[in-house]
């Protein structure tokens, strides 16, 4: 089957956000900014992904997997542009919109693995899990998360330090906060307090976000 057009993908994405994540029943054509005879809408109707009744568009069961993956690609793209490339704000959103359409044919899986199967986008919305996420979870691969994501009392091992500020990283390293060290987070507010060995450190959220922790493998 031929690939969906970018505009058709955008419609699926909006439908998912409004009807599956939101509590709308179908979407007004006007809020999707399409006409009933728009090319991209016809494309979706043809594949039986959506249904148009009166002035509303409904996502059909057949369209759900595709819509879900579109949303997933968009939010992965956001993770990429905002977290890794460091593009913030509207610029980040725009770039993410461009990127998402490139994430096909397994590229999304690779990106997802690279990002260590994130579960939320930078805005905090859920990223629908892909096959790779399910497999990773079944294998019990430990997740790597920023120190900020641990619950207080949780322990893990430092996986790596993201070096956005060389000097600060060196400081952490010379104090013995090094990859491979076992850490226990004891407090999250107003500063992040953690223990390494018999020493205790406090850092702010800027620095905590750059310390990445490998969680121990869940045994169950």
């Amino acid at each position: 089957m031929e690939r969906l057009s970018e505009n058709a993908e955008e419609i699926l994405e909006s439908l998912w956000v409004m009807t599956v994540e939101g509590d709308n029943v179908g979407c007004l054509l006007t809020s999707l900014k399409v006409n009933s005879d728009s090319e991209e809408l016809l494309e979706l109707v043809q594949r039986a992904y959506v249904e148009v009744r009166d002035d509303r568009v409904y996502l059909r069961k057949e369209g759900r997997p595709e819509a879900q993956m579109t949303v997933r690609r968009h939010r992965l793209a956001e993770r990429l542009t905002m977290d890794i490339l460091g593009i913030a704000g509207d610029e980040g959103n725009d770039q993410a919109c461009e990127f998402e359409h490139l994430l096909r044919q397994g590229v999304d899986t690779k990106l997802c693995t690279l990002l260590n199967h994130p579960t939320t986008c930078p805005h905090g919305n859920p990223i629908p899990p892909g096959d790779c996420c399910v497999t990773a979870r079944q294998k019990g691969e430990p997740g790597i998360v920023a120190l900020t994501e641990l619950r207080s009392g949780e322990a893990g091992e430092i996986a790596y330090l993201a070096a956005s500020d060389d000097k600060k990283m060196q400081k952490l390293m010379s104090m013995g906060v090094l990859p491979g060290s076992h850490v226990t987070l004891t407090q999250k507010f107003p500063s992040y307090i953690f223990k390494v060995g018999n020493s205790q450190f406090a850092v702010d959220d800027t620095l905590a976000r750059e310390i990445h922790i490998r969680r121990p493998v869940q045994k169950n």
Binding site: L161, A163, D165, D166, K167, K168, M169, Q170, K171, L172, M173, S174, M175, G176, L178, P179, G180, T186, Q187, F189, P190, S191, I193, V196, G197, N198, S199, Q200, F201, A202, V203, D204, T206, L207
Partner: protein
Amino acid sequence: MSAQKTSSPKVVLVGNPNVGKSVVFNALTGAYTTVSNYPGTSVEVSRGHCRIAGRSYEILDTPGMYSMMPITEEERVARKILLTEDPHAVVHVIDARNLERMLPMTLQLIEAGLPVILVVNIIDEAERLGIQLDLNLLQENLGIPVIGAVMKRKVGLDELRQAIADYAMVPYKPFVYAPDLEQDIDQLIKLIHGDYRLSRRATSILLLQKDDDIVQLVAEKEAGNGYEQLTETIREITFKRRADLHLQISLERRKVCKQMLKQVVTQSVKEGEPFGEKLSRWMMNPLTGTPILLLVVYFGLYKFVGGFGAGTMVDFFEGNLFENYINPPVVNFSEKYLTANWLFELVAGEYGLWTLGIRYAVALVLPIVGTFFLIFSLLEDTGYFPRLALLVDLLFKKIGLSGRAVIPIVLGFGCDTMATLVTRTLETKRERIIATMLLALAIPCSAQLGVILGLLSAEPNALAVWTVFLLLVFLFIGFLASKVLPGESPVFYMEIPPLRLPQLRNVAVKTLTRMQSYFVEILPLFLFASVVLWAGKMTGTLGSVINVFAPVVKAIGLPVEVTTAFVFGFFRRDFGAAGLYDLQSSGLLNATQLTVAAVTLTLFVPCVAQFLVMIKERGIKVAVIIFIFVTAMAFSSGWFLNKVLLTTGLLA
């Protein structure tokens, strides 16, 4: 490199903060010097002497450092000692509880070819945590003398003295890193030709890590000797390793440490949570930490410094000792022998050297500052400040500072001049400027605080207005400054040392040292100020200055007499406040005027000493801008507060 020096051999103490370095220093020298064991108040090097087996050694205590590559100012000072002095021995003091974390620096010292003695301190507390150490094995592994110690009880002192006396430099066992890293280091070693205090191996690694001081040093020494090739090679290597150079070096060192520590450390399971850790948690939790902070402020600052220091002690010194026993003979003597009017005025007159200089310094300021330093040293010794720092970090971020700045700010309540010196431990220029300005503007020093608390305590509402208004100005101006000043916002990180019971001797030494340096620094200024004021009075200049200020003072609703207090305020912050005290006693001020005057005076320009330090630390331009801003801010705030109080009738 053995320069022909007649001075005694030097022994340099180095190590992380909070490992008992200064305790070792005191044990060795028996001296009473600044003992500073939290990051921030001491950036100086203490020197002392010690005799071992008939030979005299000079002992140098350096500020805390975490590695051979300095990041903060304190570390730079410490490392500079290693670069410039020619030590007989370098004593690396580490904390037995954190061997694995601190040993990498031992490796760096050994690697640098320095004559290292390792002191593993605080072994008693380590044992309490169930940590057993085989130090003989460690000594064997490292190839340098290793001494287990509990220095505060002088355990291990004899061994250390022995080790210093016996020290003979032996070629150290080189530690080998990963082959690829070794290859790169070798490549650089071959290109370095000059003679350096640190070994070529250490110099090469520091060059790779782009250590500014070392790069500069090498550039000077290697100029015209293949320096271009050296920089080219460094550039190649650092580019090749751009992803993880620092990390790899750290990890390699840790790998070596793990080998060194194999079978050295055995850890048995420890039981329960000791009370100290519970208390520590309470201090760091905002819900319990805030009440604790308020208790500390109430009992420490208000009751002890304000009540006992500024009340009881001042009454005793000023009211009793000076009034009844010391002043009369001095005045008698002056009246008898200093017949010339100008001379009498200079010594015992209203602004005389005795009246305004010595009597103020000794009877009024010293008890207050002394009690403050006592509380400060006590808190410092327990390890409370790092906990306070992390508690206020979020709030301080709003005013462009990080939690780290809590130390200079709190010290400012003791003496703003000292605190301004200490701002140099803040990491960015932006933070230093903001902290300097806030100290100059809104933090009253203990001398001023003591007088103002005394002044306002009769009017609880006035005291409340004063407190709230100053707090608002502090936050508002900080907030504005953080918006206006360019630069990145600071990042906060701090090691939280374990809480411990303060050592009385330690606290006493710290308090006395601070009081001494305060006195040495301040007394000449007191005398200077009284001479200036005396000259001003004699020549009538004082009158003209007061006339210039008078309209401004009137504009904020105060009687003209208050002007004198403001002019005095520049010479000593507390002079001003004390001037108000006289006015209030003679019933010239109502509650509103008193509050407005107290607020304006607190905000008003820093004292001469502080201003001089501001120039020294921040440069004349920044200092003058701050000075002008603070003056304008003080009077406009006074004007504003006066309007508000008059309109609302709050204190009527």
